[in-house]
Symmetry: C5
Subunit: 354 residues, 5 copies
Amino acid sequence: MRGLLTKRSGKAGLPPGTLVHIGEARTGPLRLRLTEYDAAGCEERNLASAAECLPPTDGGKVYWLDVGGIHHVQVIEQLGQAFHLHPLMLEDIVNTDQRPKADVYDDCLFFVVKMLHVADKEATIHVEQVSVVLGPRFVLSFEENGGPAFEPIRTRLKNPKGRLRNSGADYLAYALLDAIVDHYFGVLEILGERIQALEQELIRDPGPATLRTIHEVKRELLFLRRAVWPVREMINVMERGETDLIQDTTKVYLRDVYDHTIQVMDTLETFREMATGMLDLYLSSVSHRLNSVMKVLTVITTIFMPLTFIAGIYGMNFDYMPELKWQWGYPSVLLAMLFIGSVMFWIFKRKDWL
Amino acid sequence: MRGLLTKRSGKAGLPPGTLVHIGEARTGPLRLRLTEYDAAGCEERNLASAAECLPPTDGGKVYWLDVGGIHHVQVIEQLGQAFHLHPLMLEDIVNTDQRPKADVYDDCLFFVVKMLHVADKEATIHVEQVSVVLGPRFVLSFEENGGPAFEPIRTRLKNPKGRLRNSGADYLAYALLDAIVDHYFGVLEILGERIQALEQELIRDPGPATLRTIHEVKRELLFLRRAVWPVREMINVMERGETDLIQDTTKVYLRDVYDHTIQVMDTLETFREMATGMLDLYLSSVSHRLNSVMKVLTVITTIFMPLTFIAGIYGMNFDYMPELKWQWGYPSVLLAMLFIGSVMFWIFKRKDWL
Amino acid sequence: MRGLLTKRSGKAGLPPGTLVHIGEARTGPLRLRLTEYDAAGCEERNLASAAECLPPTDGGKVYWLDVGGIHHVQVIEQLGQAFHLHPLMLEDIVNTDQRPKADVYDDCLFFVVKMLHVADKEATIHVEQVSVVLGPRFVLSFEENGGPAFEPIRTRLKNPKGRLRNSGADYLAYALLDAIVDHYFGVLEILGERIQALEQELIRDPGPATLRTIHEVKRELLFLRRAVWPVREMINVMERGETDLIQDTTKVYLRDVYDHTIQVMDTLETFREMATGMLDLYLSSVSHRLNSVMKVLTVITTIFMPLTFIAGIYGMNFDYMPELKWQWGYPSVLLAMLFIGSVMFWIFKRKDWL
Amino acid sequence: MRGLLTKRSGKAGLPPGTLVHIGEARTGPLRLRLTEYDAAGCEERNLASAAECLPPTDGGKVYWLDVGGIHHVQVIEQLGQAFHLHPLMLEDIVNTDQRPKADVYDDCLFFVVKMLHVADKEATIHVEQVSVVLGPRFVLSFEENGGPAFEPIRTRLKNPKGRLRNSGADYLAYALLDAIVDHYFGVLEILGERIQALEQELIRDPGPATLRTIHEVKRELLFLRRAVWPVREMINVMERGETDLIQDTTKVYLRDVYDHTIQVMDTLETFREMATGMLDLYLSSVSHRLNSVMKVLTVITTIFMPLTFIAGIYGMNFDYMPELKWQWGYPSVLLAMLFIGSVMFWIFKRKDWL
Amino acid sequence: MRGLLTKRSGKAGLPPGTLVHIGEARTGPLRLRLTEYDAAGCEERNLASAAECLPPTDGGKVYWLDVGGIHHVQVIEQLGQAFHLHPLMLEDIVNTDQRPKADVYDDCLFFVVKMLHVADKEATIHVEQVSVVLGPRFVLSFEENGGPAFEPIRTRLKNPKGRLRNSGADYLAYALLDAIVDHYFGVLEILGERIQALEQELIRDPGPATLRTIHEVKRELLFLRRAVWPVREMINVMERGETDLIQDTTKVYLRDVYDHTIQVMDTLETFREMATGMLDLYLSSVSHRLNSVMKVLTVITTIFMPLTFIAGIYGMNFDYMPELKWQWGYPSVLLAMLFIGSVMFWIFKRKDWL
């Protein structure tokens, strides 16, 4: 999971619309993948430079340009000029510290989301920012590094009977969003497994490490929530925004993504409450253990203190202590000690301290 | 109660509308029960295959098809084609990890709820997802396994004077929902009994097991809340949705279910606050017990330490210790010890430590 | 205060509108009191059976029928037929586990509230459900047992100059509601006194019993809140509901009851926060006491351990221990012990542990 | 600060509009101060009885009647008749347990607020209820005892150039409200000073008294919040209420009071969070102290227990104990003890327990 | 960070619109910087007195007057007269204890924000109030001392191609607000670094100082929240207020500042939850340490108490104690003691107490 806060102060004082890449320093190469398709055909090629990216002129095909490596700021700028994008939109694209949101511009719709994925089960959760611009017949998508999230969509584009091939650019934008939200469930599953493992650990053998893990999980939940929560509002803006870029048939599908997002939020909230419950359990198991330590101490002290005191009495050196002369003194005292100790033991047994 | 999270990630990357059964693996047989009725008569039969299920052609009778076993995905698909159901609706039907919701489509109303029931008092709470499609003259209901929840409705359908027989498909859909919500009260009663038993246990003999049970109850409440809470909003959508599938006379009854749902939520919230209160009580009973353990330790130590010290003094081997020679030395010291011990005891008695 | 949850599951499966008395089993007799009044006169009589209860025919007088003993289900049913009440309304009347609410029907207004009263100061709080049906010229009120809450209204009805005699049925319905809400203040006063007594106890002598009482008070507040909170919304429905049964002049008075309800809620919330504050105080007084117990233990141990050790040294039996032969050895050691003990004592005194 | 709850139950059963003085029993004399002013002049006099208070007939001057001593119920009643006030309004005026609120009547505007003031810095916070009736050309204000809050307004009325003299009755009503809200800041300052003193005490020398003071402050904040919070809504009602009694130019000023109220609420909330933070600090300082007490106990026990054990060994009376005969036995044992003790001490030093 | 509460009570009783400087006593000199610009040119000069500040007469240029030192109350008053500002606006400008807000007046827009900046990394956070008045062709900005926050804007004004030079007064007002909100990110970064340092400290070596620092951070977050939270609503008022002072092209930029503010709030909330999590961690590390102290105590006591008791037995002076005469008595007892001690040690080892 990414650090606490991205350095952003370097930007203070610059005019709005200044393109400064904010976020983790990335060094990956630029990747420009252009896909043009309609019901008849689907063509895909890699472009070498931003100069080749021209807005579609003929209205027939859907034009999808997928840009990987948003730290190539000058490329973003060139694309912005070619597609007439608002400077603030470009600024948001290169700033990876963006909160998920959707903005409705005059001639296009812009949204930013966080893509979450896990490389392998032990690995940490990766967060990557994805920005999508939906124009009349084109979709531009911007990824930080370019993960494998959009691969299934390329596969589905190959299928000429698929709904994707037979719908417009708005359905493609929806499909991208849907692919990202679907990945959230995978992240939830891994978190759920961690929480269940933690619960086992809490019952078997809780220690300070358990506590630290609970706190780590809580913190990851905090970050996930921050990434997912605004998606709700974002989809609302897309659904109700005054734009005719999104057709009514697609809105039914957006509603479906919306339901998935609520499902994710719901699960996150449940996880949070479970983590809080585990914290309570941990703390009470700690105080329970303190209690049992104290009981051991008290039992030992309470049994041996009186016995030691008795031994101390008969260790005194008074000249006139008749018991010392008595032949059965020693065994009697030993028996008395045994009796006192047993009574004490029996009392603690009954009080359920042993 | 079902596990924390259903595996859903297997679906990531598939196009929306792909039917994949998500949830507990079920193996039960397919069950298709068709009931057709109007005021004049009521006919019920089991169908052998989805091919026999045809949408009603004559407008006269209400047509109710109850499907048990939604893991028979291809059957759901056939039904979807026969009744012209939206692919997303079908996807929601076979995904048992759905959040309760209602969707208004052009020509039908779709809602998903969780059916809760308890096999017997000791048993755990079973959650089963029920989806209902309400069309102009038909109702389709989909159950996971098919519990006994809808039996009373079949019985009521036998009664030619009943309101059910004399009303339309919307009233049947309401009756199904009402039957499900009525079952929630039974679950609440069992939870209420568990909470009362826990309270008794807390007063009589609280232990770590009590704590664990409190946490289990809290967790079950968490899950129930998640199942019940969205029903509120669902009924709102049904009542206010722009659809003429539900008549005004039926809306009064929907309002009644709405009131019941709020009652259930109210009780769940009260249970939650009671569980939190019990947690507080448990924790303070633990610290109270720590206090009494400490008091025993302190009393024993405070009484015997000075006495042992005195015995230690007269156990010293100095040549010139006049008391040792004195004839009444030993009894005097014993008396002094008795006096000191009694004073200590009296002090603790007054301080209410014993 | 009534138990946690009323058995309601027995109703699952019955058609809506089936009259089943839900709640505490009551055995009281049926009581039907009919009051008819207008500005000119007021007549009151007890009816023997439901058959005598006929809806008023002449529009002139206000007709108030007060029914005590709602467990006489068949009587409620007869009344329902006579006054053309909706089956769901009748169902709500006999179900004493109802949440306060108001329903606007075509030709009448229906509301349910909880009447709270205390028999005497030591006694527990009694909850009784009251349902009121307001029709064009009649008011039907249904009580569980029939407490004394409505007595003052009968007295006021005797006064020919009173506003009650000179207003319509809507003002009577308001007066009944007002009488019930006014009783809430009495219950609050008793709770307030209990809380003040608890605060005194917390300062003087807090024990586990105090804790239990705090929890009982918290729980009663929880139940009261559940009974009072929905009244707010109920009055809103009555005020804004699309009905002309309530005149504008009466709405000013409804607003007044609304203000009283908010006042009650406000006080309940304050009580809740005070109870929580007392819980904190109790817990910290417990840990404070643990601290002082620990200090006593530590002081005793720290003073006597070194002294006992010194005594132990001179109790050793080495042949060559010059101090033992020295004539002033014993008094010197005693003085040294006294000095060490005094220094310890002085240190603890300065550290404020004594 | 006034007690927890005012006796109000004595009123249960009385018809609405019955004037019963509810609140602290007051005995102060009646005070009726009439001020009549317009831009040309300002005249002030004390009236002897309610009979002299007549509603203004000529539309020219603003008529302000300030009534001190609302326990003179019959005077309030006379005024109510003279100014045609609604009975419920009169009831609210004499009931000092009122929640701040504004009611819009047909021909007048009524609001109730709580005036808070502090006699001197050490003194407690006094709460007094002030009701104001704003009519077309008159303002009636009702105070419990009549504090000095309105003095500055009288002074400002002397100034013929002031906005007050040149505006209508609505501006006067605003000025009264503004004077009351301005006093809240003084109360906040005193609370703020108390909180800062508490923070100093928490750092220097926290004890149970500190805890009790924190709780007292929390409780006062609770009461203040209850007095101030509804003022927000009250001003909203005044601003947006359907009345032409308040001119648009005055509404700008009302907005200003609104901002002040929010500022007060904001500060109260901050104080509450600070008080909660202090409670946490106190509790952790208590457990920190328990820790250091335990460390002292453990250090002493751990150092002296082994030494005492060694002394005990050589205090045994076995006939054949070669060490006892050895000439250097005693000094060797003493040295060994010194060594063990020093090692223990060094360990605790390193573990940072000393 | 500024103190808890600014003295404001001195104002109670004064008429609204009276200019009294509220806040930290400042002594800096007055600074009046006038900047006039349009696309063609930009002129900047320092004015000597308020008399020179005249509202712009020719509609062509944007007129920006930046006032530093708002404690020069009479200057503010003169400016108010020159620019026809509402007295309440002037009152808000000189009162530095203002909550961020925007007011829409007939002919101008007024907003107040808090400027946060940090002099150097170790230094505390400085809060300064900035008020901005936006008129048809002019912008007035008022700073307390005049920090360097607006310098970048002056630099950008030098650039004839910049959007700033080619836009109207509304864009300048936006730019000022944007500069202030951009500074918040710098403050967040420093807080984030402090929190990360605290987390390291919590893991390495938590002590009471850590706790105090956590509380300080929580308190600073509380104050920052109070300063930032209302900015959200403020921008909403500016965006939706019924004013044509802000053009639609500028509103897109305002939306951008709005997004930044939400980002800041989001981060603050995350910090708050992290601080709460750290508090929990600290408290459980304290109780964990108490546990280990108790274990040491218990281990030592449990090992040495029985041994000391045995030594005590053989230190008794009975005449007939056969073991004492036995030649191998002493070594046997020593061996027995060694055995008992080892068993105890092994038990504790297995119980994981060592």
